[in-house]
């Protein structure tokens, strides 16, 4: 017996297996980042003083725009595949991955600036939570890049065998990617502006 509903949705749940899976995974991610944001709140409320203006709002804002743009290109990639335009879809996946990479390069300059002044996570509670939150978020970005590289590279062969399944995979990656983007949308004001 084959495993059913790998591509087509099950009538009573309205979902294919992968879509339900990715939503459940994102639910657990909400709990993960939720715990870290709670940590941030608790530490900040208990702090005697909280530093302001330690981070470059300009670099942060640029990164915000990069991630939002990458979310758009991700949707376009999926839309192109839905319209059966494989090469364009693939191109947009690559563009998304490149934007993600630019985000990380930008982040590297921010990190390097702190470390060059000897201010690592050990320096203060603020930098501790800053490095932990953005580091974990960066790992999620990296994970996204790996998946996109797979989809645009060795995983692209699936298109020939089963285009619907391939398109679904891009959709699930997109859901994950929007979540990672959303986390940053919270991180930026919380760490850079407030």
């Amino acid at each position: 017996m084959e495993i059913p509903y790998t591509v087509e949705p099950r009538p009573d749940s309205g979902l294919a297996n992968g879509k339900l899976g990715i939503w459940l995974f994102l639910a657990s991610e909400v709990m993960l980042f939720g715990a870290l944001f709670s940590t941030y709140i608790l530490l900040r409320v208990g702090a005697v003083e909280w530093p302001h203006g330690e981070l470059s709002v300009k670099l942060g804002a640029i990164n915000t725009f990069i991630l939002i743009a990458s979310s758009v290109t991700m949707v376009v990639a999926w839309a192109k595949l839905k319209m059966n335009e494989f090469s364009k879809g693939r191109l947009y996946i690559i563009v998304t991955a490149v934007l993600a990479l630019v985000f990380l390069v930008n982040k590297y300059f921010e990190y390097a600036d702190h470390f060059s002044r000897g201010e690592g996570p050990w320096h203060s509670t603020f930098l501790a939570i800053y490095f932990t939150l953005t580091g974990l978020h960066g790992l999620h970005i990296l994970g996204g890049i790996v998946v996109m590289a797979y989809l645009a590279g060795p995983g692209a062969g699936l298109w020939k065998k089963n285009p619907d399944q391939f398109t679904n995979r891009v959709e699930y990656t997109g859901l994950y990617w929007h979540f990672v983007d959303l986390v940053w949308i919270f991180l930026f004001p919380v760490l850079y502006l407030l």
Binding site: M1, E2, I3, P4, Y5, R10, S13, L15, N17, L20, G21, L24, F25, A27, S28, E29, M31, L32, F33, G34, A35, L36, T39, L42, L43, G46, A47, V48, N84, G120, P121, W122, H123, S124, T125, A128, I129, F131, T132, L136, K160, K161, N162, P163
Partner: protein
Amino acid sequence: MDTTATGTAHGHEHAHEHDHAHHEELGFLRKWVFSLDHKVIGIQYAITGLLFLLFGFTLMMVMRFQLAYPGHPIPLIGPWLGDANAPNGVMLPEFYNQLGAMHGTIMVFLGVVPLAVGGFGNFVMPLQIGAPDMAFPKLNMMSYWVYFCGGVTMFASFFIQGGAAQSGWTSYPPLSVVVATNGQVYWLVGMIFLITSSLLGSVNFIVTIVQLRAKGLSYMRLPFFVWAQLVTSFLLLLAFPPLEAAGVLQLMDRVAGTSFFLPSGLVISGKPLTVAGGGNPLLWQHLFWFLAHPEVYVLILPAMGIVGEVIANNTRKPLWGYKALVYAVIFLGFMSFIVWAHHMFMTGMGTTISAFFQTTTMIISIPSVIVLTAMLLSLWGASIRFTTPMLFALAFLPMFGIGGLTGLPLGLAPSDIHLHDTYYVIGHFHYVVAPGTIFALFAGVYYWFPKATGRMMNETLGKIHFWGSIVAINFVFMPMFIQGLGGMNRRMYDGGMQYAHNAGLLKWNIVIGVAAWALGLFQLPFIVNFFGSMKWGKLVDRNPWQATTLEWSAPSPPGHGNFVVEPVVYRGPYEYSVPGAPSDFTPSFEPERS
């Protein structure tokens, strides 16, 4: 578009044939080690889990010698422990702390959960819902191997300089952060592996239950065990990430020099600690117990599920109050997220917060009582078959009852102030988990063994195992209530000899020690039975227990893909002794006779 579609269909067929050709000739490695089959993965989980249970129990048998005869050299294994742990065979306090921390960690995260969820959940659940496999077989294999890596990391920490983690299974900071050895780092990395494994597993379980139920198997026809696994998976999915976050934070504290859990101005051994400070040790406790209380229900729910199956089968009656049971476990799942701070009454959270958590704790006892009551009422008027699995399932009821009722005084802040951190607490949660959950797991092993191997386990050895264990285990845990009510503290490597109030209580340590070693001895018939029956057990057909749920319609053992014909479900899971039916069981997979 047309060409693509045909191409796809072709590709599919081709892949299909290809697959089939390969099934016959899977090598040993693909079939038994890196298997994608949920049944093999379930058995891998179960055997690894059982081995860790044995290992964790062995640690305790060694600790019990130290408590019964403090300062005496440990017989048999003493010389093997090394001078760093036990010079001349006499245990050092640091080593006692390692054993204590690792006993808890191993039993909970490497023993019971992998056996109850990874083992039984993986093996039984897809069969019970009529699925060919789990929804994501590769993810399933990955869950097992990530768990395995976590287990190896934990195990390896015993052999590093300074030994394993020493700060209890709860790893409370500041102690866990400032203790000098690296065992704690191994513990944290191991936990991150185990948590990741549980997360992947729980996604897989939920998707499988929602998506792969057989035709006709609506939610209210699901076997109770499947319901228990579904709720358990949600707890793992949502409660584990905060501990993962906490683990990352503590790891940062240990390796990156942060002070998330270290307050300003901390003085250790008379010297102020040179850290940035500003952290909060209570934060760890909140994050830890936000997982660890739902974790209690992760331990108990699959056990309840197993007991439900075994009781229905051996009473030859439907489970009493099936719907009440289902709603009770769902409610239990929700409530378990808002009771965590009843572990923290002593931390000075304030009476308002304490009052809230006392209230929720009292409320959560209601669904537990409903489950226990429904199971007990299921026995009423039945002509019970006293098979080995049934004996274990029956023993679960009073044992879990004792565990639950002794929890009430701990859930109320005034009485908890007296009892907290005493042996009373140890007695309480061990009654829930050891003669409760682990007995239910034994019931499950005896009950589903014929499905996994096609052979029965020996009943005589099973009964020796049962009666020996139930007597011994009560002599282990019952005296702990006496010690705890007398005020004897836990985690003392000599039992607390220096305190006058313990003088009359220490003698019980000898009773507990002897009972613990006897308990160990009575596991031997089980080990012999388990491996012996694989080879010499009585051969059986598909349905040796004359049961009604779907797993018994598959061959024993089921082949790849589980079912020979696609299963269809026609009725509820426990149609036993239906008036007018030709036999005392009407399987859910049997069509109506017209």
